[in-house]
């Protein structure tokens, strides 16, 4: 059967741009080099019709399909298993911006365009596509949708799910579902697109999408503010919202160990603090007015609140300096050595107590632990990482124990063990511990209904 499948595939080799053998190597390993698999071939369709043809053929011969966008998953969601009995479907040739509708504030794109292409196409039409994160230049929209990715502007604009108005999806049997509507109100039966956003390619393959655009903000105000505690950061967030409403675009919490690491590994990065404070907040406001008014508003609010170390960026260069601090934290960690990482979310008000409690639990068991906590406080998402004195890969032997401490406390606070990176292969077994039987049964029944042969990205999320 396999050889017949490969035979059927042959005539398509050129038009569908198939890759075999060594040419598939780069597609078989994830970017963190944690997962390595094998594949029969990489199919690179250049249209939804070609995509549907591949899926139909795979369905006919019961060949598993592994969709791959920019291959930037942090959870191994786009890497095949080691059986080599699957097909990788790469979206790199489905990379067209189809339409920017400025009047409707929407953009229609193929799944293989990068996030940066979408941002730029929006900008060219004087619009904002607000999703943004580190991998913008290489990640693709299809993958961003499949993982319901988040990033730094979720507080104001939501995740990829909230930014999606319409989808086109190739279903498990190769049928094309065209749901490319650009409507903000549409209540005609079940909202089918919601099934595919965040499903990590396990229910169908997203081929095109209609995304929301926003008016381009013309005013920005950025500040770096030392706070005494995470609780004070939450108070600042709510005070600020009371005074500027939802014009807060980002609200990032940074702990002293982050600043220490930055100082050690990037001593030339400019920081306004003479001495690293226990905690600080990097925040940004934006609106459609003029920056002068917004800067003045922000300065007044911070002054009246009595912060002793509050620095409002006086120009774009200084704002970029502040952001550079935040953006270099992951790299400073990498340079320091191997750490155990968690991408968690919590009700915002629970974060101060969680941080205190989790630290005390960890220190009890690991007195040498150095906890590097930072993240998107505004939307409740923390990157909660920790070093032990041994900074080599040997630390991974402690991963299960440390995960259990962190995740059990997350569960106690009704939080999430995966805020914005998804499940993939990495957290599949953890998922089974932290979602109820009812939830797992519901998910499995949806999977069974949409992908009865289990061919869509198997080994990810559920089964």
């Amino acid at each position: 059967m396999l050889s017949e499948f490969l035979q059927q595939l042959q005539p398509w080799a050129e038009s569908h741009s198939l890759l075999f053998g060594n040419d598939t190597a780069a597609y078989c390993i994830d970017q963190r080099r944690r997962y390595q698999g094998q594949t029969l071939a990489v199919a690179r369709p250049n249209s939804v019709q070609q995509l549907a043809e591949i899926v139909q053929l795979c369905a006919q011969f019961h060949i598993a399909m592994v969709p791959q966008g920019g291959n930037t998953s942090l959870c191994g969601a786009a890497t095949p298993d080691q059986t080599g009995q699957n097909i990788i479907i790469s979206f790199e040739r489905m990379n067209q911006i189809i339409e920017v509708d400025a009047d409707n504030n929407t953009i229609t794109v193929e799944a293989g365009v990068t996030l940066q292409q979408v941002q730029q196409a929006a900008l060219a039409a004087n619009r904002l596509f607000p999703a943004n994160w580190a991998a913008a230049a290489s990640c693709q929209i299809g993958g961003a949708l499949a993982t319901n990715a988040g990033g730094v502007n979720v507080l104001r604009y939501g995740n990829m799910r909230e930014l999606t108005l319409g989808l086109e999806v190739v279903l498990a049997d190769g049928t094309i579902w065209n749901g490319l509507r650009g409507l903000r109100k549409d209540n005609t039966g079940y909202d089918l697109k919601q099934l595919f956003v965040g499903a990590e390619g396990t229910l169908g393959l997203i081929s095109r999408a209609v995304l929301r655009l926003y008016p381009l903000p013309t005013a920005h105000a950025t500040a770096l503010v030392a706070v005494d505690s995470p609780a004070d950061a939450v108070t600042l967030l709510r005070d600020l919202q009371a005074k500027v409403s939802d014009r807060i675009t980002s609200f990032e919490l940074i702990s002293r160990p982050c600043l220490t690491l930055l100082h050690q590994h990037f001593p030339k990065l400019s920081s306004p603090f003479e001495q690293a404070p226990e905690w600080c907040v990097l925040l940004e406001l934006s609106d459609g007015g003029d920056s002068e008014h917004l800067l003045e508003l922000l300065a007044t609010i911070l002054f009246e609140a009595g912060f002793e170390q509050a620095y409002v960026a006086q120009n774009q260069r200084q704002a970029a300096d502040f952001w550079r601090l935040r953006e270099h934290i992951p790299e400073a960690q990498r340079l320091e050595g191997v750490s155990i990482k968690h991408d968690i979310s919590l009700p915002v008000g629970a974060i101060p107590q969680f941080l205190a409690e989790c630290e005390s639990h960890i220190i009890l068991q690991y007195p040498d632990a150095n906890i590097v906590a930072f993240g998107h406080l505004g939307d409740g998402n923390l990157h909660y990482n920790l070093f032990l004195s041994d900074k080599t890969a040997l630390i991974y032997q402690q991963e299960a124990v440390i995960n259990a401490i962190v995740y059990q406390l997350v569960a106690q606070y009704n939080g999430s063990i995966s805020a914005e990176h998804g499940i993939g292969q990495l957290k599949k077994s953890v998922l089974r511990e932290y979602r109820s039987n009812t939830e797992l049964l519901l998910m499995n029944s949806i999977k069974q209904t949409l992908d009865p042969l289990g061919l869509m990205n198997p080994g990810k999320v559920l089964i």
Copy 2:
């Protein structure tokens, strides 16, 4: 079997507050008095446990269940059929606000609280729950979620779907699914709550919800602006967004026939226009600053754009007068007589052309037609209604023909035949014409998976 079911029900009569016979009459007719059904009994559980007990019993005896909130559906979604073989489940005793978490900007409520109760509880915590529409005082949150209701603030804040963070649902077999998480980022498998929002009770019964709250805007600016055409209204919307970003809360389009009807039936309503313009826009901005600044900003923008008849409300009373005009349009229509109504949505930029084309198609077939078009231009939702010279219920004989004209053009523009009112019984057959076979198959397979016995609100949406 039926008698055994009723026998099993008896011991619960008091604790579950069951109603029988004549006491069920008010629950069996919809508010527009277009649908009248019959029921075995109305169950009024006061907790999710009681709700689950009723559902389990119904599942055991294969008794259909019709969930009912405030009974304000405009599509007969909460009214039973005429077999009398079903149970109505009323949520009126599940009416508790469970928690307002101001730090997390969330509110947790039972399904039977009214929209107004949620708005007021939010306000008491200095927060905004932004959903709003005419039936706020009587509609219930469970129904609002089940229809993914919209209203006047969708442009800024989204529909009920976007305002929902967590749900608790009683499934078709009586299992309680607890998904009451208040998180803005959570990617742990399929997002199950999306299945139940907008499903009109056909997949499970929403018992509790965690909803998003927003900072309370402290500044408001309202204006009524005469524009030459719908195209000019779209241009104004986009210009305004470029200058104030997403601080536009509402942007309503009103046509001259609306103003004429208002003048005829509510001559005392104050309008700033000496002569009714061809079209006008009612718009509102809000933010967390002071009203003076926002008013000045709006006045400057409208002045610079050169509008000759642009009235910025100088105080709250005047703003309320402007809104009163908009809010009295439906009642003015009712007083005028019977009309054929459509709740449609379109890509915003397509609205001007749609209006021109649809009018010409209708006038060709109905030279006496008077088209009363108005609605939420900002989010693409139009209420597109029309009178013929005969203003009695006889006009309904033309409904199918007129619907076909309107809906076919809506489909041509990739719009929706139901923007914010849902499908219920009213549009069930129309849905089958305007969603593809693939979509209907997908919907039916989801229905079959979650409600294999077909007991959840049968006869609504799909089957």
